[in-house]
Protein backbone atom coordinates (compact mmCIF):
# COMPACT_ATOMS: atom_id res chain seq x y z
CA UNK A 1 0.00 0.00 0.00
CA UNK A 2 1.47 3.35 -1.07
CA UNK A 3 0.81 6.35 1.14
CA UNK A 4 0.79 8.58 -1.94
CA UNK A 5 -2.26 6.75 -3.35
CA UNK A 6 -5.66 8.41 -3.11
CA UNK A 7 -8.36 6.70 -1.05
CA UNK A 8 -10.33 5.98 -4.26
CA UNK A 9 -7.40 4.00 -5.73
CA UNK A 10 -7.07 1.97 -2.54
CA UNK A 11 -10.78 1.24 -2.34
CA UNK A 12 -10.87 0.22 -6.02
CA UNK A 13 -7.93 -2.11 -5.45
CA UNK A 14 -9.80 -3.68 -2.52
CA UNK A 15 -12.89 -4.21 -4.66
CA UNK A 16 -14.98 -1.53 -2.91
CA UNK A 17 -17.38 -0.11 -5.50
CA UNK A 18 -18.36 3.53 -5.90
CA UNK A 19 -21.84 2.54 -4.75
CA UNK A 20 -20.41 1.10 -1.49
CA UNK A 21 -18.39 4.28 -0.96
CA UNK A 22 -21.53 6.39 -1.45
CA UNK A 23 -23.44 4.23 1.03
CA UNK A 24 -20.65 4.59 3.56
CA UNK A 25 -20.46 8.35 2.97
CA UNK A 26 -24.23 8.60 3.52
CA UNK A 27 -23.84 6.66 6.77
CA UNK A 28 -21.05 8.97 7.98
CA UNK A 29 -23.07 12.05 7.00
CA UNK A 30 -25.98 10.71 9.07
CA UNK A 31 -23.71 10.01 12.05
CA UNK A 32 -22.30 13.54 11.86
CA UNK A 33 -25.84 15.02 11.54
CA UNK A 34 -25.02 16.60 8.18
CA UNK A 35 -27.59 17.44 5.46
CA UNK A 36 -28.28 14.76 2.79
CA UNK A 37 -26.21 16.56 0.12
CA UNK A 38 -23.15 16.31 2.36
CA UNK A 39 -23.02 12.56 1.68
CA UNK A 40 -22.00 13.24 -1.94
CA UNK A 41 -19.44 15.80 -0.78
CA UNK A 42 -17.99 13.27 1.67
CA UNK A 43 -17.83 10.57 -1.03
CA UNK A 44 -16.11 12.97 -3.47
CA UNK A 45 -13.83 14.29 -0.74
CA UNK A 46 -12.83 10.80 0.36
CA UNK A 47 -12.25 9.68 -3.24
CA UNK A 48 -9.91 12.60 -3.97
CA UNK A 49 -8.19 12.73 -0.62
CA UNK A 50 -4.78 11.37 0.12
CA UNK A 51 -4.67 9.02 3.08
CA UNK A 52 -4.39 11.09 6.19
CA UNK A 53 -1.22 10.47 8.17
CA UNK A 54 -2.16 9.60 11.74
CA UNK A 55 0.15 9.16 14.71
CA UNK A 56 -1.62 7.38 17.53
CA UNK A 57 -0.16 7.89 20.99
CA UNK A 58 -1.19 5.69 23.90
CA UNK A 59 -0.55 7.08 27.36
CA UNK A 60 -2.19 6.23 30.71
CA UNK A 61 -4.97 4.05 29.29
CA UNK A 62 -6.35 0.52 29.24
CA UNK A 63 -6.40 -0.02 25.44
CA UNK A 64 -10.19 -0.14 25.64
CA UNK A 65 -10.46 2.72 23.13
CA UNK A 66 -8.33 0.84 20.59
CA UNK A 67 -10.32 -2.33 21.29
CA UNK A 68 -13.55 -0.45 20.68
CA UNK A 69 -12.36 0.80 17.30
CA UNK A 70 -10.58 -2.28 15.99
CA UNK A 71 -13.23 -4.69 17.19
CA UNK A 72 -16.12 -2.67 15.86
CA UNK A 73 -19.01 -4.92 14.87
CA UNK A 74 -18.89 -4.04 11.23
CA UNK A 75 -15.59 -5.19 9.64
CA UNK A 76 -16.27 -3.04 6.56
CA UNK A 77 -16.29 -0.03 8.79
CA UNK A 78 -13.02 -1.09 10.36
CA UNK A 79 -11.50 -1.65 6.92
CA UNK A 80 -12.61 1.75 5.77
CA UNK A 81 -11.18 3.42 8.84
CA UNK A 82 -7.80 1.95 8.00
CA UNK A 83 -8.21 2.68 4.30
CA UNK A 84 -8.89 6.34 4.97
CA UNK A 85 -5.87 6.84 7.17
CA UNK A 86 -2.23 5.99 7.07
CA UNK A 87 -1.71 4.80 10.61
CA UNK A 88 2.00 5.57 10.86
CA UNK A 89 2.43 4.85 14.56
CA UNK A 90 0.34 2.84 16.99
CA UNK A 91 2.05 0.87 19.75
CA UNK A 92 -0.62 -1.82 19.94
CA UNK A 93 -1.28 -2.32 16.24
CA UNK A 94 2.06 -1.73 14.56
CA UNK A 95 4.27 -4.68 13.62
CA UNK A 96 7.58 -3.03 14.45
CA UNK A 97 8.79 -2.30 17.96
CA UNK A 98 11.59 -0.58 19.83
CA UNK A 99 13.86 1.86 18.00
CA UNK A 100 12.26 1.05 14.61
CA UNK A 101 8.83 2.06 15.90
CA UNK A 102 10.11 5.36 17.24
CA UNK A 103 11.92 5.96 13.94
CA UNK A 104 8.60 5.44 12.11
CA UNK A 105 6.96 8.10 14.28
CA UNK A 106 9.75 10.59 13.67
CA UNK A 107 9.72 9.84 9.93
CA UNK A 108 5.97 10.39 9.72
CA UNK A 109 6.35 13.68 11.58
CA UNK A 110 9.13 14.80 9.22
CA UNK A 111 7.38 13.78 5.98
CA UNK A 112 3.96 15.16 6.91
CA UNK A 113 5.05 18.23 8.85
CA UNK A 114 2.00 20.42 9.55
CA UNK A 115 -0.38 17.89 7.95
CA UNK A 116 -0.52 14.86 10.21
CA UNK A 117 -3.17 14.25 12.85
CA UNK A 118 -2.23 13.12 16.35
CA UNK A 119 -4.68 10.80 18.05
CA UNK A 120 -4.18 10.34 21.78
CA UNK A 121 -5.79 7.82 24.06
CA UNK A 122 -4.98 7.96 27.73
CA UNK A 123 -4.28 10.84 30.08
CA UNK A 124 -0.89 12.48 30.55
CA UNK A 125 1.04 12.01 33.80
CA UNK A 126 2.57 15.31 34.93
CA UNK A 127 3.56 14.76 38.56
CA UNK A 128 7.30 14.65 39.19
CA UNK A 129 7.99 15.57 35.58
CA UNK A 130 5.68 12.86 34.25
CA UNK A 131 7.91 9.94 35.30
CA UNK A 132 4.95 7.70 36.13
CA UNK A 133 4.28 6.86 32.46
CA UNK A 134 7.17 6.53 30.03
CA UNK A 135 7.88 4.86 26.71
CA UNK A 136 11.17 4.40 24.88
CA UNK A 137 12.91 6.35 27.62
CA UNK A 138 10.68 9.40 27.23
CA UNK A 139 7.80 10.56 29.38
CA UNK A 140 4.34 10.79 27.81
CA UNK A 141 4.50 14.50 28.45
CA UNK A 142 7.67 14.86 26.33
CA UNK A 143 6.34 12.64 23.52
CA UNK A 144 3.05 14.55 23.35
CA UNK A 145 4.72 17.96 23.21
CA UNK A 146 7.23 16.77 20.63
CA UNK A 147 4.66 15.05 18.40
CA UNK A 148 1.95 17.68 18.60
CA UNK A 149 4.28 20.58 17.79
CA UNK A 150 3.86 20.32 14.01
CA UNK A 151 0.51 18.50 13.90
CA UNK A 152 -2.54 19.70 11.99
CA UNK A 153 -4.87 18.81 14.84
CA UNK A 154 -5.07 16.60 17.90
CA UNK A 155 -7.92 14.18 18.56
CA UNK A 156 -8.31 13.02 22.15
CA UNK A 157 -9.98 9.64 22.01
CA UNK A 158 -11.66 8.38 25.15
CA UNK A 159 -12.44 10.08 28.43
CA UNK A 160 -8.88 9.65 29.78
CA UNK A 161 -7.38 11.73 26.97
CA UNK A 162 -10.34 14.12 26.80
CA UNK A 163 -10.91 14.80 30.51
CA UNK A 164 -8.32 12.82 32.50
CA UNK A 165 -10.67 9.88 33.07
CA UNK A 166 -9.83 7.15 35.53
CA UNK A 167 -6.17 8.12 36.14
CA UNK A 168 -7.42 11.64 36.97
CA UNK A 169 -9.84 10.28 39.63
CA UNK A 170 -9.21 11.21 43.24
CA UNK A 171 -6.50 11.09 44.58
CA UNK A 172 -4.87 11.26 41.11
CA UNK A 173 -1.47 9.90 42.20
CA UNK A 174 0.25 10.54 38.85
CA UNK A 175 -1.01 14.10 38.39
CA UNK A 176 -2.95 12.95 35.31
CA UNK A 177 -4.33 15.71 33.09
CA UNK A 178 -6.24 15.76 29.80
CA UNK A 179 -4.44 16.45 26.51
CA UNK A 180 -6.14 19.85 26.15
CA UNK A 181 -4.37 21.01 29.29
CA UNK A 182 -0.96 20.39 27.68
CA UNK A 183 -1.66 21.30 24.04
CA UNK A 184 -3.09 24.79 24.00
CA UNK A 185 -1.88 26.11 20.64
CA UNK A 186 -3.56 23.49 18.40
CA UNK A 187 -7.16 22.54 17.78
CA UNK A 188 -8.03 19.62 20.08
CA UNK A 189 -11.14 17.55 19.38
CA UNK A 190 -12.42 15.46 22.28
CA UNK A 191 -14.20 12.21 21.49
CA UNK A 192 -15.02 11.13 25.01
CA UNK A 193 -16.45 7.86 26.26
CA UNK A 194 -15.10 4.88 28.12
CA UNK A 195 -14.68 3.69 25.43
CA UNK A 196 -15.91 6.07 22.73
CA UNK A 197 -18.28 4.90 20.01
CA UNK A 198 -16.34 3.69 16.94
CA UNK A 199 -18.60 5.61 14.54
CA UNK A 200 -17.86 8.87 16.36
CA UNK A 201 -14.16 8.41 15.64
CA UNK A 202 -14.68 7.41 11.98
CA UNK A 203 -17.17 10.23 11.41
CA UNK A 204 -14.85 12.86 12.87
CA UNK A 205 -11.85 11.73 10.78
CA UNK A 206 -14.01 11.60 7.62
CA UNK A 207 -15.22 15.12 8.32
CA UNK A 208 -11.66 16.38 8.80
CA UNK A 209 -10.49 14.77 5.55
CA UNK A 210 -13.52 15.84 3.49
CA UNK A 211 -14.02 19.41 4.61
CA UNK A 212 -10.51 20.21 5.85
CA UNK A 213 -11.85 21.81 8.99
CA UNK A 214 -13.08 20.88 12.46
CA UNK A 215 -16.71 19.84 12.93
CA UNK A 216 -18.97 21.97 15.15
CA UNK A 217 -17.86 21.40 18.72
CA UNK A 218 -19.65 21.82 22.04
CA UNK A 219 -18.24 23.66 25.09
CA UNK A 220 -16.14 20.59 25.92
CA UNK A 221 -14.67 20.49 22.38
CA UNK A 222 -16.72 17.43 21.39
CA UNK A 223 -18.45 17.08 17.98
CA UNK A 224 -21.99 18.35 18.45
CA UNK A 225 -23.31 15.76 16.03
CA UNK A 226 -22.39 12.98 18.47
CA UNK A 227 -22.52 14.77 21.79
CA UNK A 228 -25.36 17.24 21.14
CA UNK A 229 -28.14 15.32 22.91
CA UNK A 230 -28.20 13.70 26.31
CA UNK A 231 -28.63 9.95 26.68
CA UNK A 232 -31.84 10.75 28.59
CA UNK A 233 -33.32 12.77 25.70
CA UNK A 234 -32.93 9.83 23.31
CA UNK A 235 -33.53 6.99 25.79
CA UNK A 236 -36.30 4.56 24.95
CA UNK A 237 -37.11 4.40 28.70
CA UNK A 238 -37.79 8.16 28.83
CA UNK A 239 -41.62 7.76 28.82
CA UNK A 240 -41.32 5.86 32.12
CA UNK A 241 -39.32 8.76 33.60
CA UNK A 242 -42.00 11.20 32.48
CA UNK A 243 -44.69 9.04 34.12
CA UNK A 244 -42.71 8.61 37.35
CA UNK A 245 -42.29 4.84 36.91
CA UNK A 246 -38.89 3.82 38.26
CA UNK A 247 -37.05 0.57 38.98
CA UNK A 248 -36.16 0.60 42.68
CA UNK A 249 -33.53 -2.12 42.38
CA UNK A 250 -31.96 -4.19 39.61
CA UNK A 251 -34.17 -7.20 40.27
CA UNK A 252 -37.59 -5.75 41.08
CA UNK A 253 -40.73 -5.72 38.97
CA UNK A 254 -39.93 -2.27 37.57
CA UNK A 255 -36.53 -3.45 36.36
CA UNK A 256 -38.10 -6.51 34.71
CA UNK A 257 -40.68 -4.30 32.99
CA UNK A 258 -37.99 -1.97 31.66
CA UNK A 259 -38.88 1.11 33.71
CA UNK A 260 -36.59 4.12 34.10
CA UNK A 261 -33.31 3.50 35.98
CA UNK A 262 -33.02 7.03 37.48
CA UNK A 263 -33.48 5.79 41.06
CA UNK A 264 -30.70 3.20 40.73
CA UNK A 265 -28.27 5.91 39.72
CA UNK A 266 -28.61 6.36 35.94
CA UNK A 267 -26.65 9.44 34.82
CA UNK A 268 -28.38 9.63 31.43
CA UNK A 269 -29.91 13.09 32.07
CA UNK A 270 -26.48 14.71 32.48
CA UNK A 271 -24.52 12.61 29.95
CA UNK A 272 -24.12 13.70 26.36
CA UNK A 273 -23.37 10.93 23.86
CA UNK A 274 -25.00 8.96 21.06
CA UNK A 275 -25.17 5.60 22.88
CA UNK A 276 -28.99 5.56 22.85
CA UNK A 277 -29.15 6.10 19.08
CA UNK A 278 -26.01 4.54 17.56
CA UNK A 279 -25.73 1.88 20.29
CA UNK A 280 -22.99 -0.75 20.35
CA UNK A 281 -22.15 -3.99 18.56
CA UNK A 282 -23.75 -2.95 15.32
CA UNK A 283 -26.72 -1.27 16.97
CA UNK A 284 -27.65 -4.28 19.13
CA UNK A 285 -27.77 -2.63 22.56
CA UNK A 286 -26.37 -0.08 24.96
CA UNK A 287 -25.93 -0.16 28.77
CA UNK A 288 -29.42 1.09 29.64
CA UNK A 289 -31.02 -1.38 27.24
CA UNK A 290 -28.98 -4.11 28.94
CA UNK A 291 -30.49 -3.16 32.30
CA UNK A 292 -27.79 -0.98 33.87
CA UNK A 293 -27.96 2.76 34.33
CA UNK A 294 -25.66 5.07 32.38
CA UNK A 295 -22.42 5.73 34.29
CA UNK A 296 -21.89 9.08 32.59
CA UNK A 297 -18.55 7.89 31.19
CA UNK A 298 -18.33 10.56 28.48
CA UNK A 299 -18.47 13.43 31.01
CA UNK A 300 -15.59 15.00 32.97
CA UNK A 301 -14.88 13.50 36.42
CA UNK A 302 -17.51 10.78 35.99
CA UNK A 303 -15.61 8.59 38.44
CA UNK A 304 -15.82 11.13 41.26
CA UNK A 305 -19.35 12.41 40.72
CA UNK A 306 -20.94 10.98 43.82
CA UNK A 307 -21.24 7.26 43.07
CA UNK A 308 -22.66 5.25 40.19
CA UNK A 309 -25.70 4.01 42.13
CA UNK A 310 -26.71 7.23 43.85
CA UNK A 311 -29.62 9.03 42.14
CA UNK A 312 -28.85 12.41 40.59
CA UNK A 313 -31.33 14.19 42.85
CA UNK A 314 -29.61 13.04 46.06
CA UNK A 315 -26.81 14.82 47.87
CA UNK A 316 -23.31 13.55 47.19
CA UNK A 317 -22.08 14.38 50.67
CA UNK A 318 -22.76 12.57 53.92
CA UNK A 319 -24.04 15.45 56.04
CA UNK A 320 -24.69 13.38 59.19
CA UNK A 321 -21.66 14.74 61.05
CA UNK A 322 -22.33 18.33 59.94
CA UNK A 323 -26.03 18.14 60.85
CA UNK A 324 -25.28 16.40 64.16
CA UNK A 325 -22.68 19.01 65.03
CA UNK A 326 -25.02 21.83 64.02
CA UNK A 327 -27.81 20.46 66.22
CA UNK A 328 -25.46 20.21 69.22
CA UNK A 329 -24.20 23.76 68.57
CA UNK A 330 -27.80 25.01 68.17
CA UNK A 331 -28.83 23.36 71.45
CA UNK A 332 -25.80 24.86 73.22
CA UNK A 333 -26.45 28.39 71.95
CA UNK A 334 -30.21 28.12 72.50
CA UNK A 335 -29.73 26.64 75.98
CA UNK A 336 -27.23 29.36 76.89
CA UNK A 337 -29.62 32.04 75.66
CA UNK A 338 -32.46 30.58 77.70
CA UNK A 339 -30.23 30.28 80.78
CA UNK A 340 -29.22 33.94 80.50
CA UNK A 341 -32.89 34.89 80.10
CA UNK A 342 -33.76 32.93 83.25
CA UNK A 343 -30.96 34.63 85.19
CA UNK A 344 -32.10 38.06 83.99
CA UNK A 345 -35.66 37.23 85.04
CA UNK A 346 -34.59 36.00 88.49
CA UNK A 347 -32.47 39.11 88.96
CA UNK A 348 -35.38 41.32 87.95
CA UNK A 349 -37.70 39.47 90.37
CA UNK A 350 -35.14 39.84 93.18
CA UNK A 351 -34.76 43.57 92.45
CA UNK A 352 -38.52 44.03 92.48
CA UNK A 353 -38.85 42.15 95.77
CA UNK A 354 -36.03 44.20 97.30
CA UNK A 355 -37.66 47.46 96.16
CA UNK A 356 -41.02 46.30 97.51
CA UNK A 357 -39.41 45.44 100.86
CA UNK A 358 -37.64 48.79 100.90
CA UNK A 359 -40.90 50.59 100.14
CA UNK A 360 -42.70 48.74 102.96
CA UNK A 361 -39.95 49.40 105.51
Amino acid sequence: MNDRDGIADLLARRGVSRRALLKYATYLATVMALPPLAARAIAQGLAKARRQSVIWLSFQECTGCTESLTRSFNPTLEDLIFDMISLDYHETLQAVSGAAAEAARLAAMRENRGKYVVVVDGSVATKDGGVYSTNAGKTNLEVLKETAEHALAVISVGTCAAFGGLPHAHPNPTGAVPVSQIITDKPVINISGCPPIAEAMAGTIAYLITFGKLPDLDHLSRPKSIFGDSIHDRCYRRPFYDKGMFAKSFDDEGARKGWCLYEVGCKGPVTYNACATLKWNGGVSFPIQSGHGCLGCSEPDFWDNGGFYRPLSSSTSHPGAVVGGAVVAGIAVGGLGALLARQRRERAVRDLEAKEQERRS
Binding site: H232, G244, S313, S315, V323, A329, V333
Partner: protein, 219 residues
Protein backbone atom coordinates in the same frame (compact mmCIF):
# COMPACT_ATOMS: atom_id res chain seq x y z
CA UNK B 1 -15.89 21.39 40.45
CA UNK B 2 -18.97 21.85 38.29
CA UNK B 3 -22.01 23.82 39.43
CA UNK B 4 -23.99 20.58 39.85
CA UNK B 5 -21.20 18.99 41.92
CA UNK B 6 -21.14 22.10 44.13
CA UNK B 7 -24.93 22.07 44.49
CA UNK B 8 -25.15 18.33 45.30
CA UNK B 9 -22.19 18.48 47.70
CA UNK B 10 -20.95 21.48 49.69
CA UNK B 11 -23.97 23.74 49.08
CA UNK B 12 -26.50 21.24 50.44
CA UNK B 13 -24.19 20.25 53.30
CA UNK B 14 -23.76 23.86 54.44
CA UNK B 15 -27.49 24.55 54.02
CA UNK B 16 -28.47 21.47 56.04
CA UNK B 17 -26.02 22.50 58.77
CA UNK B 18 -27.47 26.02 58.87
CA UNK B 19 -31.01 24.56 58.95
CA UNK B 20 -30.24 22.13 61.79
CA UNK B 21 -28.43 24.77 63.84
CA UNK B 22 -31.17 27.36 63.38
CA UNK B 23 -34.06 25.03 64.20
CA UNK B 24 -32.32 23.65 67.32
CA UNK B 25 -31.32 27.13 68.47
CA UNK B 26 -34.73 28.74 67.98
CA UNK B 27 -36.78 25.89 69.41
CA UNK B 28 -34.62 25.41 72.50
CA UNK B 29 -34.17 29.09 73.21
CA UNK B 30 -37.97 29.42 73.08
CA UNK B 31 -38.95 26.26 74.94
CA UNK B 32 -36.36 26.69 77.68
CA UNK B 33 -37.48 30.24 78.48
CA UNK B 34 -39.03 30.70 81.92
CA UNK B 35 -42.80 30.30 81.52
CA UNK B 36 -45.26 32.01 83.85
CA UNK B 37 -47.73 29.59 85.34
CA UNK B 38 -51.40 30.35 84.72
CA UNK B 39 -52.67 30.66 88.28
CA UNK B 40 -56.31 31.12 87.34
CA UNK B 41 -58.72 28.29 88.14
CA UNK B 42 -59.66 26.38 85.01
CA UNK B 43 -63.34 26.29 83.97
CA UNK B 44 -64.99 23.00 84.94
CA UNK B 45 -65.53 21.94 81.30
CA UNK B 46 -61.98 22.84 80.18
CA UNK B 47 -60.40 19.92 78.29
CA UNK B 48 -56.88 18.67 78.85
CA UNK B 49 -54.07 20.86 77.51
CA UNK B 50 -53.31 18.43 74.69
CA UNK B 51 -56.95 18.13 73.59
CA UNK B 52 -57.38 21.89 73.81
CA UNK B 53 -54.24 22.51 71.71
CA UNK B 54 -55.20 19.97 69.05
CA UNK B 55 -58.81 21.15 68.89
CA UNK B 56 -57.81 24.79 68.70
CA UNK B 57 -55.29 24.07 65.94
CA UNK B 58 -57.89 22.31 63.80
CA UNK B 59 -60.60 24.93 64.45
CA UNK B 60 -58.34 27.75 63.32
CA UNK B 61 -57.69 26.13 59.99
CA UNK B 62 -61.00 27.55 58.85
CA UNK B 63 -62.23 31.14 59.37
CA UNK B 64 -64.84 31.72 62.06
CA UNK B 65 -68.32 32.60 60.78
CA UNK B 66 -68.03 36.41 61.24
CA UNK B 67 -64.82 36.44 59.16
CA UNK B 68 -65.84 33.87 56.59
CA UNK B 69 -66.98 36.39 54.01
CA UNK B 70 -63.74 38.35 54.06
CA UNK B 71 -61.24 35.56 54.73
CA UNK B 72 -62.62 32.48 52.99
CA UNK B 73 -60.68 32.82 49.73
CA UNK B 74 -57.49 33.88 51.46
CA UNK B 75 -57.69 30.85 53.76
CA UNK B 76 -58.47 28.56 50.83
CA UNK B 77 -55.51 29.94 48.86
CA UNK B 78 -53.26 29.38 51.86
CA UNK B 79 -54.39 25.76 52.06
CA UNK B 80 -53.84 25.29 48.32
CA UNK B 81 -50.18 26.27 48.38
CA UNK B 82 -49.42 24.60 51.70
CA UNK B 83 -50.95 21.29 50.61
CA UNK B 84 -49.43 21.74 47.16
CA UNK B 85 -45.97 22.20 48.62
CA UNK B 86 -46.41 19.07 50.75
CA UNK B 87 -47.48 17.03 47.71
CA UNK B 88 -44.57 18.30 45.63
CA UNK B 89 -41.95 17.81 48.36
CA UNK B 90 -43.12 14.36 49.49
CA UNK B 91 -44.71 13.00 46.33
CA UNK B 92 -42.09 13.32 43.59
CA UNK B 93 -39.82 10.29 43.17
CA UNK B 94 -36.68 12.42 42.90
CA UNK B 95 -37.50 14.18 46.19
CA UNK B 96 -38.12 10.85 47.93
CA UNK B 97 -34.69 9.74 46.75
CA UNK B 98 -33.18 12.91 48.20
CA UNK B 99 -34.85 12.25 51.57
CA UNK B 100 -33.88 8.57 51.41
CA UNK B 101 -30.25 9.61 50.92
CA UNK B 102 -30.42 11.71 54.10
CA UNK B 103 -32.58 9.64 56.45
CA UNK B 104 -32.97 6.24 54.78
CA UNK B 105 -36.76 6.62 54.63
CA UNK B 106 -38.77 6.09 51.46
CA UNK B 107 -42.36 5.59 50.34
CA UNK B 108 -44.21 5.12 47.01
CA UNK B 109 -44.10 8.15 44.74
CA UNK B 110 -46.94 9.89 42.91
CA UNK B 111 -47.09 10.04 39.08
CA UNK B 112 -44.75 12.75 37.80
CA UNK B 113 -47.49 14.34 35.69
CA UNK B 114 -49.71 14.79 38.75
CA UNK B 115 -46.87 16.35 40.77
CA UNK B 116 -46.09 18.70 37.86
CA UNK B 117 -49.75 19.79 37.72
CA UNK B 118 -49.76 20.39 41.49
CA UNK B 119 -46.52 22.40 41.11
CA UNK B 120 -48.13 24.69 38.55
CA UNK B 121 -51.20 25.19 40.80
CA UNK B 122 -48.91 25.82 43.81
CA UNK B 123 -46.89 28.39 41.93
CA UNK B 124 -50.06 30.14 40.76
CA UNK B 125 -51.40 30.10 44.32
CA UNK B 126 -48.15 31.55 45.69
CA UNK B 127 -48.33 34.29 43.04
CA UNK B 128 -51.87 35.14 44.14
CA UNK B 129 -50.68 35.34 47.76
CA UNK B 130 -47.88 37.73 46.76
CA UNK B 131 -50.20 39.83 44.60
CA UNK B 132 -52.63 40.19 47.51
CA UNK B 133 -49.79 41.23 49.81
CA UNK B 134 -48.66 43.87 47.33
CA UNK B 135 -52.15 45.14 46.43
CA UNK B 136 -53.66 45.31 49.92
CA UNK B 137 -52.63 48.60 51.62
CA UNK B 138 -52.87 47.07 55.09
CA UNK B 139 -50.81 44.00 54.22
CA UNK B 140 -48.29 46.14 52.35
CA UNK B 141 -47.88 48.32 55.43
CA UNK B 142 -47.15 45.43 57.78
CA UNK B 143 -44.96 43.51 55.32
CA UNK B 144 -41.21 43.55 55.75
CA UNK B 145 -38.28 42.34 53.64
CA UNK B 146 -38.48 39.13 55.67
CA UNK B 147 -41.95 38.40 54.20
CA UNK B 148 -40.92 39.02 50.60
CA UNK B 149 -37.65 37.10 50.91
CA UNK B 150 -39.44 34.18 52.57
CA UNK B 151 -41.91 34.16 49.67
CA UNK B 152 -39.05 34.23 47.16
CA UNK B 153 -37.11 31.33 48.68
CA UNK B 154 -40.35 29.30 48.79
CA UNK B 155 -41.38 30.00 45.19
CA UNK B 156 -37.91 29.60 43.66
CA UNK B 157 -37.55 25.83 44.27
CA UNK B 158 -41.03 25.25 42.82
CA UNK B 159 -40.23 27.28 39.69
CA UNK B 160 -36.75 25.82 39.16
CA UNK B 161 -38.05 22.32 39.90
CA UNK B 162 -40.72 22.69 37.22
CA UNK B 163 -38.09 23.81 34.71
CA UNK B 164 -35.77 20.93 35.65
CA UNK B 165 -38.56 18.38 35.45
CA UNK B 166 -39.66 19.59 32.03
CA UNK B 167 -36.06 20.22 30.79
CA UNK B 168 -36.92 23.78 29.77
CA UNK B 169 -34.54 26.68 29.25
CA UNK B 170 -31.11 25.09 29.73
CA UNK B 171 -29.28 21.79 29.94
CA UNK B 172 -30.60 19.43 32.61
CA UNK B 173 -27.47 19.58 34.76
CA UNK B 174 -27.71 23.39 34.90
CA UNK B 175 -31.42 23.30 35.74
CA UNK B 176 -30.90 20.62 38.39
CA UNK B 177 -28.01 22.61 39.88
CA UNK B 178 -30.14 25.76 40.08
CA UNK B 179 -32.98 23.78 41.63
CA UNK B 180 -30.70 22.26 44.28
CA UNK B 181 -29.13 25.66 45.01
CA UNK B 182 -32.60 27.18 45.45
CA UNK B 183 -33.45 24.35 47.87
CA UNK B 184 -30.18 25.06 49.71
CA UNK B 185 -31.17 28.74 49.98
CA UNK B 186 -34.59 27.74 51.34
CA UNK B 187 -33.05 25.45 53.95
CA UNK B 188 -30.44 28.01 54.99
CA UNK B 189 -33.03 30.77 55.40
CA UNK B 190 -35.79 28.62 56.89
CA UNK B 191 -35.11 28.88 60.67
CA UNK B 192 -33.99 32.51 60.61
CA UNK B 193 -37.00 34.03 58.86
CA UNK B 194 -40.75 33.71 58.90
CA UNK B 195 -40.66 30.23 57.38
CA UNK B 196 -39.94 29.01 60.92
CA UNK B 197 -43.70 29.22 61.38
CA UNK B 198 -43.73 25.64 60.02
CA UNK B 199 -42.50 24.63 63.50
CA UNK B 200 -43.75 27.50 65.63
CA UNK B 201 -47.35 27.45 64.38
CA UNK B 202 -47.98 24.33 66.45
CA UNK B 203 -46.67 26.03 69.60
CA UNK B 204 -48.39 29.38 69.14
CA UNK B 205 -51.77 28.04 68.10
CA UNK B 206 -51.65 25.32 70.73
CA UNK B 207 -50.69 27.74 73.50
CA UNK B 208 -53.43 30.19 72.49
CA UNK B 209 -56.02 27.41 72.35
CA UNK B 210 -55.00 26.08 75.81
CA UNK B 211 -55.33 29.59 77.25
CA UNK B 212 -58.72 30.17 75.64
CA UNK B 213 -60.22 26.80 76.59
CA UNK B 214 -59.00 27.14 80.19
CA UNK B 215 -60.93 30.38 80.39
CA UNK B 216 -64.06 28.96 78.81
CA UNK B 217 -63.80 30.20 75.24
CA UNK B 218 -65.66 27.69 73.10
CA UNK B 219 -64.21 28.39 69.69
Amino acid sequence: MSLLEFARGPALEIALGAFAFGVAWRLLSLLALPWSRDRSVARPAAPSALAAAAGGFVRRMWPARPFRRSDLWVTLNGHVYHIGLAIVVFGLAQHIQFIKGLFGLQWPNLPTGLVSLVSVITLASLTVALARRVVSPVLRLISTANDYFSWLVTALPVATGLLAQSHLGARYETLLAWHLLSVALLLAWFPYGKLMHAFLVFLTRGETAILYRRRGVQS
